[in-house]
């Protein structure tokens, strides 16, 4: 392959990988936006989503779309349960306590999953590889098409919910100023719970798509993408929804370019180099506001 076609092919790979990062990053950023918590268990929620999808496809014999929906529903519910049991009691506790709890939840999800499904990686059934298309000589395989299309649809739905619906406006209000939102009659606890549900469902979709994409899942698979998605959220501006979308895509593209043109060994290094650079030069992220507009 010449330089040009390699570039285009890596961009295609990057966008589809990046769309998965974006799905996970959205959960980080929404939860951070609303309760200022870096939910370190979020990567593990994504892992659980992958397993729910896996069992829906293998044990129940469902197709990819019903499996995706059921995984989003179950995992969304799990996110709400985790919030209710682990984080809600700490609403007025110092932030460090909540952060440590999140790390605890992360370990709990990883090892509880191992207990139930064994640590052995599972091979995700090959559900979509035949559906690839060729555009102008470049291959977009079925998995890439699927992850990009699903991500696009989910982002459109999410944007609609957040911008136009009553619950979305309540989410923005609570995230901007919780007390004043309560003075409007908004039940902040309920809104926070729903935010966890939505963020977790999006991560679950990411988990199923990664299963489809890489064909392999295991109980510790959430650690690295969890960190990467965190980088993506910070890159876009933590707490800013379009920022998470853009951050995920940029990160995916950078990683693909690095593995295509340098070496895949540097892929992870590139992600964390981005984190360091962002924190040094633009800590608020691409879309973040540098000034706080609160009173």
């Amino acid at each position: 392959m010449d330089f040009g076609s390699l570039l285009v092919q890596q961009l295609i790979n990057g966008v589809s990988l990046g769309s998965i990062y974006a799905l996970i990053a959205l959960g980080y950023t929404m939860v951070y936006g609303i309760i200022k918590l870096i939910n370190f268990a979020h990567g593990d929620i994504y892992m659980v989503g992958a397993y729910v999808g896996f069992f829906a496809i293998t044990t129940l014999g469902w197709g990819i779309f019903p499996a995706l929906l059921v995984s989003m529903a179950v995992t969304g519910l799990l996110g709400m349960v985790v919030e209710r049991l682990a984080y809600k009691p700490l609403r007025h506790a110092p932030r460090i306590s909540v952060l440590i709890t999140a790390i605890g939840v992360s370990f709990f999800l990883e090892y509880a999953t191992m207990y139930f499904v064994t640590p052995t990686p599972r091979t995700f059934p090959d559900v979509f590889s035949s559906a690839g298309i060729t555009v102008g000589g470049f291959v977009v395989n079925g998995q890439q098409l699927l992850s990009f299309a699903i991500t696009l649809v989910l982002m459109v739905i999410l944007t609609y919910i957040v911008q136009k619906t009553k619950i979305g406006k309540a989410m923005r209000a609570v995230s901007f100023d919780t007390e004043t939102a309560q003075l409007m009659g908004i039940d902040a606890d309920r809104v926070i719970s729903i935010t966890f549900g939505i963020g977790s469902a999006l991560a679950a979709a990411g988990g199923v798509l990664v299963g489809v994409y890489y064909n392999s899942i295991d109980p510790l698979m959430g650690i690295m993408p969890g960190l990467k998605a965190f980088v993506a959220a910070v890159l876009g501006g933590i707490g800013v929804i379009p920022g998470a979308m853009a951050g995920g895509l940029i990160l995916g593209v950078v990683e693909s370019l690095v593995s295509g043109f340098l070496s895949s060994t540097f892929r992870d290094a590139a992600a964390f180099a981005i984190l360091i650079l962002v924190l040094l030069f633009r800590p608020a992220g691409i879309f973040g506001k540098n000034t706080q507009e609160k009173v």
Binding site: A181, Q182, M184, G185, D187
Partner: protein, 237 residues
């Protein structure tokens, strides 16, 4: 007839800080009652407690005959108490219209909500012109109007106002106070917190004076405005 709002001997703490030390006050239906006092006297704390953002450690609060102490803030709005918080606290990242929509969050009567948007725009024509503008770009006075319009969108029986004159030019203060009188005459009872005692006493029926968490004086607003003690402490002569 029992008072609309009855606050009875409440004590409110922030951790170890004893901010409200046994306050009692009443507001009758149709009145404008004002609560005046210096910085840190506990005026906002009192309003925040009535609104349910804080829970009194001791004492009772009843509204329309029902106890509301300890009832969550989002529920108190549904009972008919709405607050315009200190510093306006508008949702700066949302449009003027979205702010008003959030004010109507508790309601589902589409027609009634539509009428109330019109009522708010009639009262504050400047908001109409800026409907789709981000609320954070409004001037201070416009933000105050938005905060008031937003509070009215829940159709409150009792409106709590926390220092609506804060940071505004004298002419605008007069305009805001005229609107408060209008709102009251249209049937909404008002509990007004102010540091601008002059203006507050001029529109109120009754007044309470708060000093470091205790009520030190109360009575008819006109009489208090004329009293030597008040003139010295709060009216600059």
């Amino acid at each position: 007839m029992a008072a609309m709002l009855e606050v009875n001997d409440i004590n409110v703490y922030y951790g170890a800080i004893h901010a409200i030390k046994g306050i009692s006050l009443t507001v009758d239906e149709g009145e404008i009652v004002t609560l005046i006092g210096a910085n840190g006297a506990g005026k906002s704390t009192t309003l925040r407690t009535i609104s349910g953002l804080l829970t009194p450690k001791e004492g009772t609060i009843s509204f329309l005959g029902q106890s509301i102490a300890g009832v969550p803030a989002q529920e108190i709005v549904r009972r008919g108490i709405s607050q315009v918080p200190e510093g306006r606290r508008i949702f700066a990242n949302m449009t003027v219209m979205e702010n008003l929509e959030l004010g109507a969050f508790t309601r589902t009567d589409k027609d009634g909500i539509g009428q109330d948007y019109e009522m708010v725009f009639q009262r504050f024509p400047r908001l109409l012109e800026r409907k789709e503008q981000a609320a954070g770009t409004l001037s201070g006075g416009e933000q105050q109007m938005l905060a008031m319009g937003r509070a009215l969108m829940s159709r409150p029986k009792l409106l709590l106002l926390d220092e609506p004159s804060m940071g505004l030019a004298p002419l605008l203060i007069r305009e805001i106070f005229n609107i408060i009188v209008d709102i009251n005459q249209a049937g909404t009872t008002v509990l007004l917190v102010e540091q601008n005692a002059n203006m507050a006493l001029s529109i109120a029926n009754r007044a309470y004076v708060l000093e470091t968490g205790r009520i030190t004086l109360s009575g008819d607003a006109k009489e208090l405005a004329a009293s030597e003690k008040i003139r010295k402490a709060y009216l600059g002569g």
